[in-house]
Amino acid sequence: MARARLLPARPLLAPPRWQRLAALARRWLPQLLWTVVSVGLFTAIWEILWYVGWADPRLLPPPHVFLSDLTSQARFFNTAQRWQIGVSPDAGPSPWMAVLITILSSTMRVLAGLGLAAIVSVALGVAIRYFRLIEHLTLPTVTLLAPVSPIAWLPVAIFIFGIGNGPAIFMVFIALFFHMTLATITQIDGVNRNYINVARTMGASKPQIYRRVILPAILPGLLVVLRFNLFGAWMVVLIAEATGVGFGLGQVIMMARNTFNPSLVFFTIVVIGLLGFTFDLLMRLIQRRILYWLPNGVGGFVDV
């Protein structure tokens, strides 16, 4: 917004395509450049440590080692159900197909868990503030369970859901649910009293105040909460997958550990980092689309 104002008044005709592209590039290039510099700096330090012999390549293989032979890394992503009787160890999709399936499976678990947790916890948070009885019945339990580490829920997830997608989605859900419920309540309590009072003087009923004032007022904060919890979801899904979901990025890491394959560990870390980064970017774009009323830089915005 602020940058747009510096440009001359908008002509009647839309600017030509190349001008719009140039404007876009001016916005994106510095950001892209700094990302490259930041990652490059980190990589360079690592490579230098390897070059002078401080980083043992058998334990801490530098990027040019673990990124050099992508095809052989991809070979370790095998989504065939090898533990089933009668399935040949070589069966299953091609290595790159397997990488794709692995990534999609983990992503699906993250999104399912995050989506479920968001819906249920926002609903509960609003209900807690709306109905005093629900607050009395649920808030103490929610507060009590909020500090429990998601690791503690791992056996529960396996007891209830066995193996497969179930326990992984459950783990993501349970790790986020309590915090997001409490965050929703905090958001509701933080709504500007003037908004509510104005609505009251205009004759709004309690349901109208919640639907027409409180929900839109907390939406920006909720989207920020959702963005931060996206990272949390990625962390938890790895833990869940490492314990025998079948396949997934967490399972690959665990296998890399068991087979003493640090290259594979770092390769998978890079994949996860890129995924998290991409999803954060997508989330920020969605945020901008939904929160059309906020000027840039407000409500946890970064100028995307």
């Binding site: 003037n194 908004y195 104005v198 003087t201 205009m202 004759g203 109208q208 009323w293 000027p295």
Partner: protein, 266 residues
């Protein structure tokens, strides 16, 4: 409609009654506001003038006495008593016209009706250009004008204004006072206006109600019987300013002394 717009009889308010933090904000307020009258509540900060406004709006209940609006006791907020706040209270997620038509939309009016009614109010208040803008695209003064328009859209009998121009710069504030007087004269509503600015009170009020430091009581009611727009440098204005300044500064001193007492006691 011979009933007064608002009558406060022996109104008192104690916040957090029965707890250690209990403090008395208002005591024994007797005030009668006529239909179409412009009353300014003037007092030091923290004297309970905003509290009185909230009580009249029906957002809070008095702990003593009774408030009536047009003869009927106040039981809660009502659309015929509109409140305008110091800070902008426009909903940022709605456009200007949606803000102005918010009251109508609560009653289930259709989109076309809402937009028509908003357009009428906005053009009456000289804001027709802003109809499709969002609040964050407007200046502070414009936002407060839209807030006034939104209040007028409810066709209020009483406009309650809680230091509405306090966060505006001096020049904008003078403009806004002129704007408010035009709107008030056209709408025929009573206005109860809270401020701690003597100049603002002198420019606007039919009667200035000077409140004491906490707990707020009515110290004196000063009638100003001069045609508007008023020349702030006229000889009679000087005498009035001196009088109001003396009344107010005595209370500001008392408020300061009390704060120091509290500070030394704590």
């Amino acid at each position: 409609m011979s009933d007064p717009a608002v009558v406060c009889s022996r109104v008192g308010k104690i916040w957090a009654t029965g707890t250690e933090r209990a403090h008395e904000a208002l005591r024994a307020i007797d005030l009668c506001v006529d239909p179409g009258e412009f009353v300014v509540l003037l007092g030091p900060s923290g004297c309970g003038k905003s509290t009185l406004l909230y009580l009249i709006a029906g957002l809070e209940e008095p702990t003593a006495g009774e408030i009536r609006a047009h003869g009927a006791p106040i039981t809660g907020p009502a659309p015929d008593r509109s409140l305008i706040f110091q800070e902008t209270s426009l909903f940022p997620w709605l456009s200007v016209w949606q803000n102005v038509a918010f009251g109508l939309s609560l009653r289930g009016a259709g989109k076309a009706e809402q937009r028509d009614s908003a357009r009428q109010v906005l053009s009456r208040t000289g804001l027709a250009d802003t109809i499709d803008k969002r609040p964050h695209e407007l200046s502070g003064g414009m936002r407060q004008r839209v807030a006034v328009a939104r209040a007028l859209a409810m066709r209020p009998e009483v406009l309650l204004m809680d230091e509405p121009f306090a966060s505006l710069d001096v020049q904008t504030r003078a403009k806004m006072q002129g704007f408010l007087l035009d709107v008030w004269q056209e709408s025929g509503a009573s206005v109860i206006f809270v401020t701690h600015h003597i100049d603002e009170a002198m420019a606007l009020a039919d009667r200035v109600v000077v409140l004491t430091a906490r707990p707020g009581r009515i110290k004196e009611i000063v009638a100003i019987d001069r045609p508007r727009p008023r020349d702030p440098f006229a000889p009679e204005a000087l005498a009035l300013r001196r009088k109001l300044t003396e009344l107010l500064s005595a209370e500001v001193d008392r408020a300061f002394a009390e704060q120091e007492n509290v500070a030394t006691a704590a």
